[in-house]
Symmetry: C2
Subunit: 508 residues, 2 copies
């Protein structure tokens, strides 16, 4: 028994004694004496416990097993290939930034930023998203146009709702187009990218909601909301994807001091969604078009919808006046993709938005000493939610995903052939095959073959004394367990041929 | 002029005035008055400076441009394919750990750990390497065997020597085999992996130095070094790759209190290196074989060299008694790969070790409440140094590396054809080509074609009114500038054919 186990046993015995004494209503001093002994034992175990503390990852973070990593790699590779299809380059930035780079960019959410300890030197914080570091990168390097993706982890000291797939450390997966271009052209491409990604990942049906900041502002203006309340009313509107209008209205009146009349006017707008017809109707709305800002927003939406038609994405796009998005830095079009229907959440994970973004034309200027702006538009793919949905689907479909790519396992049925197995592995590695063998000197054949089946390794080469003498090996197809004898000199070609066959039949 | 520029000008003038007054040995009060004004100006500029602070990444960190990322991806992909060739899975762990996970693992170097600020809740630190998180992962999940790689950034508050390719944030690239296996079998595979990686990356010539902790201990024991000095003497020996023996000897005598006699005995050993013959000679050394530990180490090295021969790596392996390696947790074989010769460092970057590792059988037990150990052996590839070497080579060879994978650029020679270009892009994206076009409504043809040449895009499709009417396009091979007219219906097939040709000819 370890010291800790002995102590645990003693605490148990002492605890029982104290309970018995109390139950028997023994003399107080006697009880206190035994309680003191119990506390002493407990403090001892805490000291031992400090050496062997609870093994865990920090709150809101987790490890990823080989199985989870295999799902993630396959999803990320598909997303990256869409980014590359649109000519994106990639960059990387440090995981931490000077704290002042992040200051004043996230409004209220700034309290969620992780700071590093001041150990002398600079004051640093972990990045909160990839957009602010991107803007800092553009300003610092005086880059006025680039199309880049960036996939990396970001950090938020939120109270994570693990069940909904939210963590304190999570991947962001961003694509942005920076540069002074003509209206809605890069914006339409961002929407096409979301459309391609969700299709490639088989996440249909989905809707890409779009709206425009100028339209939101114009709408609030014509409803009679004072300009200084635009932001806080937008953040109330933003809740409409989770709460019914009645609740949001109540918040507007009770917490944000709007009159019921104004709230009702807003209510008429934010319940609208549709396509080009809705844009045209709103462009006829005599109240709304009093606002220059609203007209500008509507014209932009109209143009974007035209481009969406050209790009073949219009069927998934919905112009939605309830879409507001939280972040302060958006200045133009905003969008958000939402998965629809039960079939995408066989597991209990409730999925909301899986992608979102918009135009932010003033962020880079915040970093430039001459306020020189670089207009930007981008989209962030909510990969953590997508991972959760796809992991759930995998479990539901009972499909296996391989965690290695091994093609050939070199096995033996006899003892003491490790040198021969090593020689054969070398030959096969030299031929560029992906090869494994047992690291035991004399492994059991059954264990070796079980390993092949567990890891879905397609082929096994089996060596024995007799085969070695005759210059041959047994080649086994793991799935059918069929074995043939092949001469050593033909082995590489035969393996190559069989692997091609297996790939073509898609059984791998 | 900005406020800041005005202030800078004023400070300059005021500074000159102060210098003149001092030079002229003016009345003290007068000087002090002007100095006060100067300080006031400087404090004002600091306040302005807070709004537009210096744009930089934190000390010892950097951004990676698309060009650097392209080099990195290509190197990492090659390394990953070697890991996969040996059947490795991959895992991921959080960027920070509970501080206590790291405590007591790095000896003196613990002072280099980045701590997070205590913002309430757990006390956290950024990971210092990937080995300790790996051991924590194994213990926490009670995993007794796995073969995994992990590529991720680690953090050390070192005083970075940027010129030598050392940073505070840098990639580690680790491969480890955990599990109770037969002696030297997984160890030999780690060496084979280093061998394959350095060959794949064309980094020949290189040497993989090997040694054994038990042999080091036994050697020091027979030289008469007291056991409590083993570690500090090892760390002196570890400097032999940078310092001559005379300096190391001096350190042993003056700083570590060895007698000259003992130091000389050590000196005789640590200047030895060779192959199997050296092992056999040492196994005849009557002094050395008095130590059980030394004999054990020598027998292990002998077995490993046999396995290296079977794996075809022996030509690059050198048994080297001066190899000590700093980290405390090694318990068995240790190794380190070093690039040789001038030709690998055309640039001024001096490269030392590019890979290193060894056996650490007791680290997992430090996390297990019952001290249950999982024997491990692994290797860490020094990718930052490798990146630096390969970037240098690229510059020297004048080779261009593409930062995007765009295959086709859709261009136009005429104004107002943006809708037509968008339609064609959609067609080509639907056919899974990687396609770009200009985001301007009416871009200049020259600018579009220059973009193709700058980014090495192989094909351009050029649209004009006349082509649109006739249902054709011009297809241009960017490198030769040859153009042909193709019907729209045959375009996808033609592009596919040409891209294959370009790939086969390796001009892409």
């Amino acid at each position: 028994m370890t010291t800790k186990e002995i102590l645990e046993e003693q605490i148990k015995i002492q605890g029982e004694l104290v309970r018995k004494l109390k139950a028997a209503k023994e003399n107080k001093d006697r009880v206190q004496e035994e309680v003191a002994k119990l506390l002493e034992l407990k403090s001892q175990i805490n000291e031992t416990g400090n050496q062997k503390f609870t093994l865990k990852t920090p709150k809101g973070t987790r490890d990823f097993s080989p199985h989870q990593m295999a799902v993630r790699s396959s999803v990320l590779n598909k997303i990256i290939s869409v980014f590359k299809k649109h000519g994106a380059e990639t960059i990387d930035t440090p995981v931490f930034e000077l704290k002042e780079v992040l200051t004043g960019k996230y409004g209220e959410d700034s309290k969620l930023i992780y700071d590093l300890k001041d150990q002398g030197g600079e004051i640093l914080s972990l990045r909160y998203d990839l957009t602010v570091p991107f803007a800092r990168y553009l300003a610092m390097n005086k880059i006025s146009n680039i199309k880049r993706y960036h996939i990396a982890k970001v950090y938020r000291r939120d109270n994570p709702s693990i069940a909904r797939g939210r963590y304190r450390e999570f991947y962001q997966c961003d694509f942005d187009i920076a540069g002074l271009y003509d209206p809605m052209i890069p914006d339409a491409e961002c929407i096409r990218i979301v459309y391609e990604i969700l299709n490639t990942l088989d996440l249909k049906p989905f809707v890409i909601k779009i709206n425009h900041r100028s339209l939101l502002d114009g709408m609030l203006e014509t409803c009679g909301v004072p300009a200084d309340k635009f932001r806080s009313i937008c953040s109330a509107i933003d809740k409409l994807d989770k709460s019914p209008w009645q609740d949001v209205k109540k918040e507007m009146i009770e917490e944000k001091d709007l009159t019921e009349e104004i709230a009702d006017k807003i209510g008429q707008y934010v319940q609208l969604n549709g396509g080009r017809q809705l844009v045209d109707e709103l462009l006829q709305n005599q109240n709304l078009i009093k606002s220059k800002s609203a007209v500008e927003g509507l014209e932009s939406v109209k143009l974007l919808l035209d481009y969406c038609e050209l790009f073949g994405t219009l069927d998934a796009v919905s112009f939605d006046l309830s879409l507001a998005r939280g972040l302060d830095y958006y200045t133009g079009i905003i969008y958000e993709a939402v998965l629809m229907g039960k079939d995408t959440s066989d597991s209990d994970i409730s999925v909301g938005s899986v992608a979102g973004g918009g135009r932010y034309d003033n962020l880079v200027g915040m970093f430039d000493s001459k306020n020189k702006n670089v207009p930007c538009v981008g989209v962030s793919i909510g990969v953590e939610r997508i991972f959760a949905v796809l992991e759930g689907k995998l479990v539901a479909s009972n499909k296996k995903i391989r965690t290695t790519e091994v093609e050939v396992f070199v096995a033996t049925a006899q003892k003491n052939l490790v040198n021969e197995r090593m020689k054969l592995c070398k030959e096969l590695w030299d031929n560029n095959f992906k090869v494994e063998y047992s690291y035991k000197k004399s492994p059991k054949l059954l264990v070796q073959l079980q390993h092949c089946e567990e890891y879905d390794i397609p082929l096994a080469v089996i060596l024995g004394e007799s085969e070695i003498q005759r210059g041959v090996v047994k080649l086994r197809e793991v799935s059918t367990r069929a074995e043939v004898e092949i001469s050593r000199s033909e082995l590489a070609d035969e393996i190559r041929k069989r692997l091609q066959g297996i790939q073509l039949n898609g059984t791998s």
